[in-house]
């Protein structure tokens, strides 16, 4: 078994959002993926969230398409209820032993009708709802779960534990229950392993003074999240669990099990809690019928991500109260409320009553993950997070094993997604020779030509066991269907989705020369792809298909009215037939893809992107506007982990120089752009023209040039980067200096720049620690607003305090005052603890100057990609597509997207490469299907469609008429609805088809 051959498959452990992203990127890049998930279904923690910050997107809505994509991907093999037992072998060729635990359900038979759950007598705490309500012993994790198959909780099932009951087996209409299933072991041969085991919320049970264990009015934030969720135990109504009363006041306690080594051993910051608390506060206020007061008790508000600061400001405006304090005790009250005892920022003891309290728990690595790291020989830090370097942020200590998501440190969804793509790139970096060797493709016969034939429609009405037939008179619907125009054949089927029914449909298509198929059954959202595959297998264009959802939208919701339900099923079938008669076969075309990337910007992000692409054998042209590569990193001293940046950069530049796949063009910028995904042609200002399939924008950012604090007037006032440069040059003045003052948020978090620059707090504490270590006698003061040393960086903050660095907080309306008298620099600052003004005479005043965008609007216009108000490039989706632009074939990396530290820059660069590879790896790209086209005879060239297209997929041609680029169109149809003369046609959803449906509905 064990050979040295490189294997073109990767095992991804963990089916949360990070694992899913890694799996999809790999599978779309030509690698076979085993996705191992220990629970019944993928989705992870994100599936439990109601909304996501800072956009308040519905979490389930945005994750659901991703679940489906993973579930249906031909090159992702989903192994649920599976544990990893051992990992043998080495990078390129691992043997991973897994145990597949029994589900006690035959997945090929289960139709997820839920009859079993209805009959199951065993009630169990519902972990999906954080145990706030009950589920049954036979269950699906949640309604949208993938795979949507039931499973039996073996520890709770009466039959499996006591041999009694068996009612699920009796009622199952599909005969899917199988109590005899046994655990099976298997060895998977893979080239690399990605671990994305996620986190568990910190359990505050041990913190006795918070009374979580015994007072139901105190709940965790994840529990509260489930309360807010429409599918939660209260269906989104905010209620106190003790008496189900709607609270009028709620207190959030931040940093529960984070930034706390006294009670929890978790010295790190959990990075997400400030934001999720603000989110839950906003949503709770929206959900409350009565006015709701929300107070957030916090130490520092850490709204450091893109658009987070604006979200925080919005919350303040919405009336959410923020109290900087330390809560020491939660006291239960007789009326069900709680009294919070806390110490304010000024050292005063206070107490206040609330109707309920929410503990913003930290993110914790599970004991299981800890054991796994130990067992597989993987180094972790003291908090059990994966140990990685800033320059290889997803590589674990054992070559070939990679980590992403919260396993490398607490982080939010977009950062997890970025790291997941990075892990996909890193994991496949040594596997390129085996790319495409293990992946499968679907072979379908060439579709028969039905153009010009009159419609011959086949209609299949599904019983879905008793799910449909129990309410709807299926034979009556079949008879009715037979009477409809163009219907050649109509029949009923017990389970339309079963293997034998599929085969029957294929043979009937052939026998009756059916050229349109209608299935009246369940939801096209879950089953349309299955039937479309069946059509394709029968040699029929898969778009000649229409579904009527007579289960979810009919029998399941009108079971009390069979007559009306039957009439509705007839109407729905008629609507589907009417539309089907007008369907046309849709072609999918292939376009050639130029397997080269254009990387704009030669900083650390751009170079890493190019190098990562090179590992997959793809060429890059890196355009750099200055006379050298390296960007801002040229001015940096070291990372927060104290790794030398000059050494790293030199090695990086050498690697790039030696890489035959990479061409660097210095002193050059983008002049002119033509083309689209797969086929861009960019002309540079230096004259050369580059043909490329994808574009990566990595144009970086700049340090703000302060106009305040005597910067530029007094030589003792320097910025972060200037101090770094002095330290790199071993400037004596720095070595000899006795007093340093750092001022944070210079130019950040102010009305004209309402964002946090993310890197400055860490930079300051790291510089302070470096200076202190060099000269323990140096006096160092840090003047700050909120310290934002997120994740494990909190340790450096603590180290700085331990080394004697003094931190003094200031408010935006009482900024430090800096004056000079002769040689002496005077810094005056108000100290909120003593209530007095302090005067400091530093040798250096270091300004944590904001990171400002390059405002590359022109570049954005050339590639038709947007920038936000602050000048950062705007991603396709803030949560799930953090390196993609909405326009296909366009990606971003590094500070052009938003300020971020070295490790996140490298991760995003690798991620951009991974995303780019999913396009470059296809020699030809399939386009078409449900996309728009323009009937140019009707086009006036008014440009409405061009303006409304969210994907910039429509352009004017040389005649001034609109033209759709099929490679970029996603089929939303906004163009078709906006045109006054109906020139755009959305294939599959034509006016004719929709009018026919409307007519049939009435």
């Amino acid at each position: 078994m064990a050979t040295n051959k490189v294997v073109g498959a990767v095992l991804v452990a963990g089916g949360g959002v990070a694992g899913m992203q890694a799996a999809l990127d790999l599978a779309n890049a030509g690698y076979y993926v085993y996705m191992v998930e220990k629970s019944l279904a993928i989705g992870g923690r994100m599936s439990q969230l109601d909304k996501t910050f800072p956009t308040n997107d519905c979490s389930m809505c945005i994750i659901s398409p991703k679940l489906v994509e993973v579930g249906r991907h031909i090159n992702v093999e989903l192994l649920t209820l599976t544990d990893i037992l051992s990992i043998d072998g080495t990078e390129g060729n691992f043997q991973v032993k897994v145990r597949k635990n029994p589900r006690f359900i035959d997945m090929s038979k289960c139709i997820a009708c839920g009859e079993c759950t209805k009959k199951c007598p065993v009630k169990v705490d519902n972990d999906y709802n954080e145990n706030l309500d009950k589920r049954k012993a036979i269950y699906v994790q949640y309604a949208q779960a993938v795979p949507l198959k039931y499973g039996i909780d073996a520890e709770k099932c009466m039959f499996l534990t006591k041999g009694k009951c068996g009612s699920c087996k009796k009622v199952c209409p599909a005969d899917a229950v199988d109590y005899d299933q046994k655990a099976e072991e298997a060895v998977l041969n893979v080239g690399a392993v990605i671990l994305a085991p996620g986190f568990t919320p910190y359990n505050p049970r041990e913190m006795e003074t918070y009374r979580y264990a015994d007072d139901p009015s105190v709940m965790t934030a994840l529990e509260f999240e489930r309360l807010l969720g429409a599918t939660g135990p209260t269906m989104g109504h905010v209620a106190r669990m003790s008496d189900h009363k709607e609270p009028k006041s709620i207190a959030f306690l931040q940093c529960v099990g984070s930034r706390d080594i006294n009670r929890s051993d978790n010295g790190y910051c959990s990075s997400v809690c400030c934001m999720y608390a603000i989110k839950e506060a906003i949503i709770a206020k929206e959900h409350s019928k009565e006015p709701l007061d929300v107070t957030i008790f916090y130490m520092d508000i850490r709204s450091f991500g893109k658009d987070f600061e604006k979200y925080y400001e919005k919350a303040k405006k919405a009336g959410i109260r923020f109290v900087r304090s330390r809560i020491h005790t939660v006291e239960p009250l007789k009326d069900g409320g709680v009294r919070m005892h806390y110490v304010t920022d000024h050292g005063q003891s206070q107490s206040e009553e609330f109707d309920m309290a929410v503990l913003s728990h930290g993110l914790v690595i599970t004991g299981e993950t800890k054991d796994m790291s130990h067992k597989f020989g993987l180094k972790t830090d003291k908090y059990n997070f994966a140990q990685t370097s800033s320059f290889a942020p997803v590589a674990m200590s054992r070559p070939g094993i990679y980590a992403c998501g919260v396993f490398t440190g607490p982080k939010d969804i977009p950062s997890s997604v970025m790291e997941a793509s990075a892990a996909a790139a890193a994991a496949s970096s040594k596997l390129a020779p085996a790319r495409g060797t293990l992946t499968k493709t679907v072979e379908v016969p060439a579709p028969m030509d039905v153009n010009g034939e009159p419609p011959r429609i086949g209609v299949f009405i599904c019983h879905c066991g008793i799910n449909i037939a129990g309410t709807i008179d299926v034979p009556k619907v079949v008879e009715f269907a037979k009477s409809l125009p163009f219907v050649e054949y109509a029949t009923n089927t017990i389970f339309a989705c079963s293997q034998d029914s599929q085969e029957k449909i294929v043979s009937l298509i052939k026998e009756y020369r059916l050229n349109r198929i209608v299935v009246s059954a369940c939801s096209p959202r879950t089953h349309e792809p299955l039937f479309q595959e069946t059509l394709a297998a029968a040699g029929l264009n898969k778009y000649l298909f229409e579904m009527a959802n007579i289960r979810n939208h009919d029998s399941w919701v009108h079971s009390n009215n069979p007559a009306e339900a039957t009439r509705k099923a007839m109407d729905m079938t008629e609507m589907a037939v009417a539309k089907a008669a007008l369907l046309n076969p849709l072609t999918e075309n292939v376009i050639d893809v130029d397997p080269t990337a254009l990387v704009i910007g030669g900083g650390v992000a751009g170079l890493n992107t190019a190098l990562t692409l090179s590992t997959q054998g793809f060429k890059s042209v890196v355009v750099e506007k200055s006379d050298k590569t390296g960007g801002l990193a040229n001015r940096l001293l070291s990372t927060a982990k104290d790794e030398s940046i000059p050494e790293y950069l030199a090695a990086l530049q050498k690697k790039v120089a030696e890489d035959p796949n990479i061409t660097v063009v210095l002193n050059s910028q983008v002049d002119k752009v033509d083309g689209y995904v797969g086929n861009f042609e960019t002309t540079l200002t230096t004259g050369e023209s580059v043909k490329h399939g994808v574009t990566i924008i990595a144009t970086g950012a700049q340090e703000y040039k302060p106009t305040e604090y005597l910067y530029g007037q007094n030589p003792k006032v320097v910025t972060h980067l200037e101090l770094d440069e002095k330290m790199k040059a071993k400037d004596e003045a720095v070595d000899e200096a006795g007093t340093f003052v750092f001022v944070q948020c210079v130019g950040s978090r102010e009305p004209e720049r309402m964002y946090c620059s993310k890197v400055c707090c860490t930079h300051t504490v790291h510089s302070a620690v470096t200076l202190k270590k060099k000269n323990p006698n140096a006096k160092i003061f840090v003047l700050y607003r909120d310290m934002r040393t997120y994740a494990q960086k909190e340790d450096i903050y603590k180290e700085a305090r331990d080394l004697g660095v003094i931190f003094i907080r200031y408010e935006l309306d009482s900024k430090p005052k800096v004056t000079e008298s002769g040689d002496v620099l005077n810094v005056e600052v108000h100290d909120p603890v003593s209530g007095r003004n302090l005067l400091i005479n530093p040798d250096f005043l270091v300004l944590a100057a904001a990171i400002v965008s390059g405002r590359e609007n022109e570049l954005g216009m050339k590639y038709k990609v947007p920038l936000d108000d602050d000048g950062w490039f705007f991603e396709a989706h803030q949560k799930l597509r953090p390196v993609d632009f909405a326009t296909d074939g366009m990606f971003m990396a590094g500070l052009a997207h938003y300020p971020k530290p070295m490790d996140e820059v490298v991760a995003q660069a690798q991620a951009a490469a991974a995303r780019a590879v999913t396009i470059l790896t296809q020699p030809r790209m399939t386009v078409g299907g449900i996309v728009a086209e323009i009937n140019q005879a009707k086009c006036s060239g008014c440009g409405v469609c061009v303006a409304v297209c969210p994907y910039s997929a429509i352009e004017f041609d040389e005649k001034g008429k609109a033209k759709v680029n099929e490679a970029m169109c996603k089929g939303c149809g906004t163009c078709a609805a906006s045109c006054r003369s109906d020139a755009p046609i959305l294939r599959g959803f034509t006016n004719a088809g929709l009018f026919a449906q409307i007519a049939a509905a009435l």
């Binding site: 519905c58 809505c61 949208q144 429409a230 729905m572």
Partner: protein, 146 residues
């Protein structure tokens, strides 16, 4: 009037409200059977003509529902749709279409309960308006009978 059962045409986007209706089914949340759903990829696809067509053909009510602003699967389809809805809603109200006949909602795929509530309310409001006499075409031309 009590035995009047209104006919309602509903236009749902595939990604959110159609999903909410699916979830309502999974959750067995019952609601009146009076509407027929036309599935669209996005509310952005909803040509205002379809609403007029439904009324012209005698629908007693129309219900349009899609993703919440910001949740659009196609980034901005529902934002563009919303502007059209604002105008069409105002036009029809001004011209004398009873406010209870035309309904718009944002229902995410997780909001089965909201779906049920709105579905019930839409049917009741349309029922209260009575049959659509004023905005239906008396005689459909041959060409239009499809």
């Amino acid at each position: 009037m009590s035995d009047f059962e209104p006919k309602i045409v509903a236009f749902f986007c595939n990604w959110c409200t159609y999903g909410a209706a699916d979830l309502a089914g999974v959750s067995r949340l019952d609601y009146p059977p009076n509407f027929r759903v036309v599935r669209l990829p996005c509310t952005g696809r909803l040509n205002p003509k379809y609403i007029l067509e439904a009324f012209k053909r005698g629908a007693d009510g129309v219900w349009v529902s899609g993703c919440h602003p910001g949740d659009c699967h196609y980034i901005a389809g529902n934002y563009h749709a919303r502007r059209k809805f604002v105008l069409l809603h105002h036009m029809l109200e001004t011209l004398g279409v009873e406010p209870g006949r035309l309904h718009f909602s944002w229902i995410s795929s997780a909001e089965a309960i909201k779906f049920q509530e709105v579905a019930r309310d839409v049917v009741e409001k349309v029922r209260a308006c009575g049959p659509n006499e004023s905005f239906r075409k008396a005689e459909l031309g041959l060409a239009e009978v499809a």
